[in-house]
Symmetry: C2
DNA sequence: GCTAAAATAGGAACACGTTCCAGTTTGCCG
DNA sequence: CGGCAAACTGGAACGTGTTCCTATTTTAGC
């Protein structure tokens, strides 16, 4: 099982393959999101995804070696979109804490507007084992990047080690809160509060 | 489906049933722990648990309605034992932060000494949905109780709302760290550091 | 354009969580 | 003790994630 390298780009880590392959990959992820959005984790059935993406089951498994890989990859794509959208307009808030809370609440609200999808993606994320480490790590990086950007909105280059640590801790709390919400242990308001508490405790300057 | 109430104890929430039932329950949980300890989440197969506990498959499902319930119940029992063991000897450390770190690292070390078991229990915990809310909540309470006790080892009665909040945030970080370790994204040292960072940030008095 | 290699389609087969059922045993009440 | 309801056994059966196989189609190199 060697690593395939496409001829066009030797610099990017991702090998997106031919146009047909990109298209299949997109169709598969679209189908995944659609099914997840409609019925959550359980509704993302591999046969259903394959059929909806107009792809054979074996092909689906060639692109994504497991249901968890599939869902985490979908999460990654969604997260990249969110992150890009956030980058557009400036972040409101005078203090660091306020800005971080703004960003997190906005993101959380976005997720809560599609609960089934969020449930599917979050459960996959939390259930992932070491074989999905690469994708998970990528998502984690996106999250801390999002948070440090909220802390220093003006392209400040003073991101200290402690800042990154704080961002990671906040990310951890956010994840736990999300899991609590997804699994029905807390409601939306409590989730928001949980994040707010953590941020205020960590960013009380 | 009515609530069954045993004749002997009307005050406790848990109805432990007859001695035979308690015995079966114990055998099942023992089998679960043994299998998890040996092969992790995947090795805890319902047929295998039933066989090892010398119980029919249907009986297993009568006691625990799903694999997740089973594993979370096992986690609960293990956690109660840990918590009891911790209660015995006093907690070392002069500052609040030191004591909390001591407790968490000791617990973490205990879990890391049986990685497969920890993997099984943690994954079940993170995958649980709202039908397991009661058990999950119980575990969460145990964790915060453990942490607040570490913060005020002398039976201090001054546990403020903020203390509980801090304990919860630390618990969240600990869980995230555990998930990271279980899924192979971080090693034992990094896990310990992650907790230490969070505690020091939150308890810097 | 031809050919070998890779990718895909279509679908059978297997594993394990879960459900269900018929028959048997156990526990309890009179 | 006799009888009845609940619990238990043993095992079949079903759904869905995953694997595997063969025939067909697409792609890449000459």
């Amino acid at each position: 099982m060697g690593v395939r390298v496409s001829s066009a780009n030797s610099l990017t880590v991702e090998d997106l393959g031919s146009a047909a392959q990109r298209d299949r990959r997109k169709r598969i992820l679209d189908a995944t999101i659609a099914l997840a959005s409609q019925g959550g984790f359980d509704a993302v059935q591999m046969r259903a995804v394959a059929e909806r993406a107009d792809v054979a089951l074996g092909t689906l498994y060639r692109y994504f070696p497991s249901k968890i890989h599939l869902l985490v990859s979908a999460l990654q794509r969604e997260f990249e979109r969110t992150e890009l959208a956030l980058r557009d307009r400036p972040i409101e808030g005078d203090t660091t804490a306020e800005r971080v809370i703004t960003v997190l609440k906005r993101t959380t609200r976005g997720m809560q507007s599609d609960p089934k999808l969020t449930e599917a993606l979050t459960r996959a994320f939390m259930f992932a084992d070491s074989s999905v480490a690469a994708e998970i790590h990528q998502v984690g990086m996106l999250l801390t990047a999002m948070l440090t950007r909220a802390m220093y909105p003006t392209g400040h280059d003073e991101v200290t080690e402690e800042d990154v640590q704080v961002a990671r801790v906040i990310g951890d709390v956010w994840l736990s809160a999300l899991v609590g919400w997804v699994t029905g242990r807390t409601n939306a308001a409590e989730t928001g509060q949980q994040i707010e508490v953590a941020v205020k405790l960590l960013l009380r300057d």
